[in-house]
């Protein structure tokens, strides 16, 4: 297999997409994980996949494509984290990272974890609306559902989060 992904044109195109999307994606990833370093890793994973995709998104659709990948990767991180936490020995004194502390410490971690365990559609709506800064209509377009469904998912998500974040209100 010849990897042509590092051609000059490919890199220039990727850099252009990076300049436009990397920062908002980082904020989305940090909000979804509560960890800035991890957020950067997920954003870079998304760009690696974009660059090597055999079916790249249509021009103008890169942002939605990258947001979808970051959201899925964040979800995978939480699920794998749950497996690791279940199987691995518990550290005697798990200290929050500097990044966590910088964005709100335990509460940031709790919010990210609570959002991560929402049902998929609710999680997507919360991520795109609150963390991605999209309007209800833009979320609906990106997910291919109606605005009413977005409102319903957000309502249910807030109700679920009200219970899971009770200690952080």
């Amino acid at each position: 297999v010849v990897d042509e992904s590092l051609s000059a044109d490919g890199i220039e195109g990727l850099r252009a997409a990076y300049d436009v999307h990397a920062r908002p994606l980082l904020r989305l990833a940090v909000a979804l994980t509560g960890d800035a370093a991890l957020g950067e890793d997920l954003v870079h994973d998304a760009f690696v996949r974009l660059h090597r995709s055999a079916t790249p998104p249509a021009p103008g659709a890169e942002g939605a494509y990258l947001r979808r990948i970051v959201t899925n990767l964040a979800h995978d991180h939480h699920r794998h984290g749950a497996v690791v936490r279940r199987l691995a020995p518990t550290p005697a004194d798990p200290a929050p990272s500097a990044e966590l502390a910088a964005i709100g410490g335990d509460r940031a971690r709790a919010v990210a974890a609570a959002v991560a365990v929402l049902p998929e559609r609710q999680r997507d709506c919360v991520a795109l609306h609150y963390f991605g800064g999209l309007t209800d209509a833009a979320v609906a377009t990106e997910l291919g559902i109606s605005v009413g469904s977005v409102k319903t998912h957000l309502h249910r998500a807030r109700a679920a989060l009200a219970l899971s974040l009770e200690d952080h209100r």
């Binding site: 297999v1 990897d3 992904s5 590092l6 890199i11 850099r15 990076y18 990397a22 920062r23 980082l26 904020r27 989305l28 940090v30 909000a31 800035a36 957020g39 950067e40 870079h44 760009f47 690696v48 996949r49 660059h51 090597r52 055999a54 079916t55 699920r79 794998h80 497996v83 690791v84 199987l87 691995a88 020995p89 910088a102 964005i103 709100g104 509460r107 940031a108 919010v111 990210a112 049902p119 998929e120 559609r121 919360v126 609150y130 963390f131 800064g133 559902i145 109606s146 469904s149 319903t152 998912h153 807030r158 109700a159 989060l161 009200a162 974040l165 952080h168 209100r169």
Partner: protein
């Protein structure tokens, strides 16, 4: 609620303070230079996530099939009268199903396995069964273990809660069946409701009763109402009561309806006074012939019927009532009854696996059996069922449907 809205906005604002390190781009380029491509197209077609998933699934099934390459295993019966058997267990196995040339395994396209299953399971741990959709089934992956070790395991499915159990209290979601368009018909208390899996829209009640079984088009619903079996023609609003020779102490514990809605199969359990299972049998009748029940291969205990699209009836077989103080009906083997000839072919479920839930995919190519946190898939080939291994691991599954 407003508090939550504010918490989310504050969280987003704090996350928005995160800034990219100026050297981040260089690190990304470094990764691109060092790492191999994530997914390499191998057959000229794009290798998107779905195709990659199917390749993983295909690889997993190849491994399983290699382990049972000798063909579908003909099980000996743990109990029962051999004279009642259509094919005694100690005879030579009949001809194996169609196989790929030279491989010894059936020609099964794993890509035909449905990607999702609807299940009744206490997903949120509140003690109330929820109706959920499990997506991404049958995907194996390396699961991290202690001390940096990894082991091959089944990837947890994506879980979408369609109806939280807390939404229907004090009633309880007990069972589910799914029409071909994905609409789930679920029993809440003594009523059947529907939920559209694509948009979460709930409607109902659409029928009375429990243990709903729905035809492919969703227009015929069989339910258990008290001691009766009723079949509702939804467009006409007409209900037919099937006379199933009720006997004191017996109950209907499972129903299946054929894809066209014309046939109904029921599992009937007779219990002794102390509640233990005394007898289990499956019988089939046409909706147009409410008294015409014909029993299927009952000498070893047949239960958990599931109609296939090709005229077969998949069955759970063997070892009924062997757990939970002999009060719960379980099967330990799977089989297929040819409704045209009455022949029953059965295969070992594998590894002591026993199950209480059984269903067929809409196209009749697959059936699954579920119990104790495991859903196992079987490929249907020429009237045989082939064990394709575990496709879901999820604790607390009460019922499930494809």
């Amino acid at each position: 609620m407003t508090d939550v809205d504010q918490i989310l906005r504050t969280h987003a604002a704090e996350a928005a303070r995160a800034e990219l390190d100026p050297a981040a781009w260089d690190r990304l380029v470094g990764r691109l230079e060092e790492e191999p491509p994530l997914v390499v197209p191998i057959d000229g077609r794009p290798a998107g996530p779905r195709r990659a998933r199917r390749r993983l699934l295909a690889a997993a099934i190849v491994v399983v099939m290699a382990g049972i390459a000798a063909g579908a295993v003909v099980a000996s019966r743990p109990t029962g009268d051999a004279e009642d058997m259509i094919r005694p267990a100690d005879t030579a196995p009949p001809a194996p199903p169609t196989t790929e040339a030279g491989s010894g395994r059936p020609d099964v396209d794993p890509g035909t396995m449905p990607d999702s299953i609807v299940a009744v399971v206490d997903h949120d741990g509140d003690g109330l069964p929820d109706l959920v959709r499990l997506e991404g089934i049958g995907i194996s992956e390396d699961v991290p273990g202690p001390n940096g070790t990894t082991a091959r395991g089944i990837r947890p499915p994506e879980v979408t809660v369609l109806v939280p159990g807390s939404d229907v209290t004090p009633a309880t979601i007990t069972s589910v069946d799914v029409a071909a368009d994905g609409t789930a018909f679920y029993a809440v208390g003594e009523e059947v409701w529907t939920v559209d899996g694509s948009n979460g829209l709930v409607s109902g009640p659409v029928a009375q009763g429990t243990r709903p079984a729905v035809s492919e088009d969703g227009e015929t619903i069989a339910t258990v109402v008290g001691v009766d079996i009723r079949v509702l023609d939804v467009p006409r609003g007409e209900s037919t009561v099937l006379d199933h020779h009720k006997v004191f102490g017996e109950e209907v514990t499972a129903l299946s309806i054929s894809p066209d809605g014309g046939l109904v199969a029921r599992q009937r359990v007779t219990r002794a006074a102390e509640g233990t299972v005394a007898d289990v049998a499956v019988a089939v009748t046409a909706v147009d012939d409410p008294t015409g029940w014909e029993e299927i291969e009952r000498s070893s205990g047949a239960g958990l019927p599931a109609f296939m699209a090709d005229g077969h009836l998949a069955l759970g077989l063997g070892a009924f009532g062997a757990s939970e103080g002999h009060t719960q009906v379980r099967a330990s083997e799977v089989g297929m009854a040819d409704l045209a000839t009455g022949e029953v072919r059965w295969s070992v479920g594998g590894g002591g696996f026993s199950f209480t839930t059984f269903d067929a995919s809409p196209d009749g190519r697959w059936v699954f059996a579920a119990q104790d946190g495991v859903i196992r898939a079987f490929a249907a080939v020429d009237g045989w069922l082939w064990d394709s291994g575990t496709v879901v691991q999820l604790d607390g599954i009460d019922d499930a449907a494809w």
